[in-house]
Symmetry: C2
Subunit: 352 residues, 2 copies
DNA sequence: GTTAGCACTCTCAACACCTAAGTGCTAACG
DNA sequence: CGTTAGCACTTAGGTGTTGAGAGTGCTAAC
């Protein structure tokens, strides 16, 4: 059986209508409100055939039809008409990013909040991959008890820190020296380049090889997204959607979002080439839980990864709106990052 | 009307029974299972009188009785019999704290998890007040763009960090010098003592007063608990309790725990003298939301505050169990902290 | 290929009815 | 005067019935 243009049109109507109303769509509804030139009986024939093709399901005979996950996928691929944001939404994006705090941690949080507020779904976000970032400063601070704090500041001003073990008999002065050596070795390099200097570094370090090894280990762990990097905003938004009037669904959803590890796994393996990714639960995308849909966008500006942002919610999601929000937020974000870079250059030029 | 001993006994039975079964308690139940020497009619008279005193309520005439918040308060004050933990629970506490990681951040998380697992409620935790902690190391690291990273490591190995603004024309070397001066000034002092050296510090700093002022500002903010210090574990545990089969209650609960600010406010203002505090929503404790109960304990060892830990859940909470868990966890925690201190001293003695 | 018409199925709300649980009250008892 | 048995009363919750409404599938006619 082929997908005629009319079938596509009808499928599109069903999905649009169901997204907006959350009520199973009837043939009468379609014929009266959207396709006034054909009768409900004709629509019924087409619906029956779409059902046979796997795009629609019905709970019971007299209950209207509901899109299947397969239908949503097809809808997103081919049928969906792009949404536009209202002026007030656009204003909101502008005003949210106009605050001048350029601390990346805060930026991630505010982007996540904007997305959640505008889409009315729970937003998930994960910061930039640290891989490509260049180390601006790397320091070991003595803390006593055979421990030192490793502080790394990268070009993007993200700082990461963790304790490493040092020999108990190492004095603060020795540690300071070691810190200086490490500084020389790594400053200006990207985190991923740590491996390349590994041999050289271990050589140079003589008796404190162990310390160096720990530092390199720590550097390596930074290239993976960590639990703390996952930001979740607006979990309570799910109550605004009728599928979560059922306690079982709430439970399921909660159990998904309460594991940040799992979320990191879900959104962390994005292929950077794909700008917007839609994953729909059940059968298709292995890891996405049933009855859940995950829409994410990976942003970048000036060749730099800015992180992955998106929403998680019911399969019956307002994809046009969500995608419009993600696109607009992305543009705004790229805008401010590029402006910032330009400012920086101008300032430098002006002073030199 | 007086509270006779028999009334107290009956009230205790009602609360115990309701805590365990979540079913409104009937006079017949009490007479048959607990007070076999008197008849249900007598119990009924007593129940009616307890209701008049405000300790009991009923949803409808034939529905049995349910304790009021006032009854829970009285129960905790006077009636409750202390619970004992099972051997397996005690073992669990021991094994959970035997891991030797003495990183405070991790310790808080694992304590919170233990409490949540053993009580089956959502656990809230907030780390030690920084007030009394002595600064072990304080450093300013240059980050470019008129910013520097302030890194503070305290005796408890808690590290806190934030960016501060520095004059754009300040060189890295100047910053390093400033860092050294600041180090000298503050090392070994408690965070709360920052104010005392304020005048002296501003004096000494000459042209970079501004930097010093920012550092002192930052120090001041650390004495308040911050959003990031609040740890929440086991939010999904609420589904194990029947009051949260109602979507409205889940919604309410979620909205409470989704604001870490609010939680910090709730548990952060503990009077350190009180070891265990019970706050029951509705009328009594202003800030605790209706239908919620908050039980927290503030731990300390060797004069040092170790943070505040507890659970948040329905008013119908298993107070004896929760309090037993909090007490045992507290003892275990104090034990390991004291052992650690002793080890530290022994090591030092051995080496010197 | 399209459509009108109709029988069929299913949900949902309303209603009556019944039962079980628990209470309050009263009158009798020691 | 406290205690108790007995009984009438109240209410939630479950069940069965009914009718209306919605939507479909099928068929025969256009």
């Amino acid at each position: 059986m082929k997908m005629s243009d009319r079938k596509k049109k009808i499928l599109q109507i069903v999905v649009d209508e169901y997204i907006n109303t959350a009520v199973p769509v009837s043939s009468k509804n379609i014929a009266e409100k959207h396709l006034t030139d054909i009768s409900s009986a004709t629509v019924r024939n087409e619906l029956a055939s779409l059902e046979e093709l796997g795009y629609l399901t019905q709970f019971h005979t007299s209950g209207g039809r509901v899109p299947s996950p397969q239908a949503y996928r097809f809808y997103i691929e081919e049928l969906m008409e792009k949404g536009n944001l209202s002026d007030s939404d656009l204003d909101y994006i502008q005003s949210a990013f106009s605050s001048k705090s350029n601390d990346v941690e805060h930026l991630i949080k505010s982007v996540s909040k904007v997305i959640s507020d505008l889409t009315d779904y729970t937003s998930v976000a994960i910061g930039p991959h640290a891989d490509a970032e260049r180390i601006r400063s790397i320091t070991l601070l003595p803390c006593g008890d055979g421990r030192a704090l490793l502080v790394i500041v990268t070009g993007e001003r993200i700082l990461r820190d963790s304790f490493i073990r040092v020999p108990e008999n190492m004095t603060d002065e020795e540690l300071e020296n070691a810190s200086r050596v490490i500084s020389k070795l790594f400053e200006g390099k990207a985190l991923t380049e740590a491996k390349e200097v590994e041999e050289e570094a271990l050589q140079e370090f003589g008796q404190y090889r162990q310390v160096m090894a720990e530092v390199i280990d720590a550097l390596k762990t930074y290239t993976h997204p960590r639990e703390e990097d996952v930001v979740l905003t607006g979990a309570e938004k799910i109550f605004n959607h009728p599928e979560y009037e059922d306690i079982g669904n709430v439970k399921n959803f909660l159990s998904v979002i309460s594991s940040k590890d799992k979320i990191a796994e879900l959104i962390g393996d994005e292929n950077d080439e794909i700008q917007i990714s839609v994953k729909i639960g059940s059968s298709g995308d292995k890891d996405v839980p049933d009855d859940c849909s995950l829409v994410t966008a990976t942003y970048s500006a000036g060749g730099k990864n800015l992180g992955t942002y998106g929403v998680i919610g019911p399969i019956r999601m307002d994809y046009p709106k969500v995608i419009a929000v993600l696109e607009n937020v992305g543009r705004a974000l790229e805008g401010i990052v590029e402006n910032k870079n330009r400012d920086k250059h101008n300032n430098k030029d002006g002073k030199q």
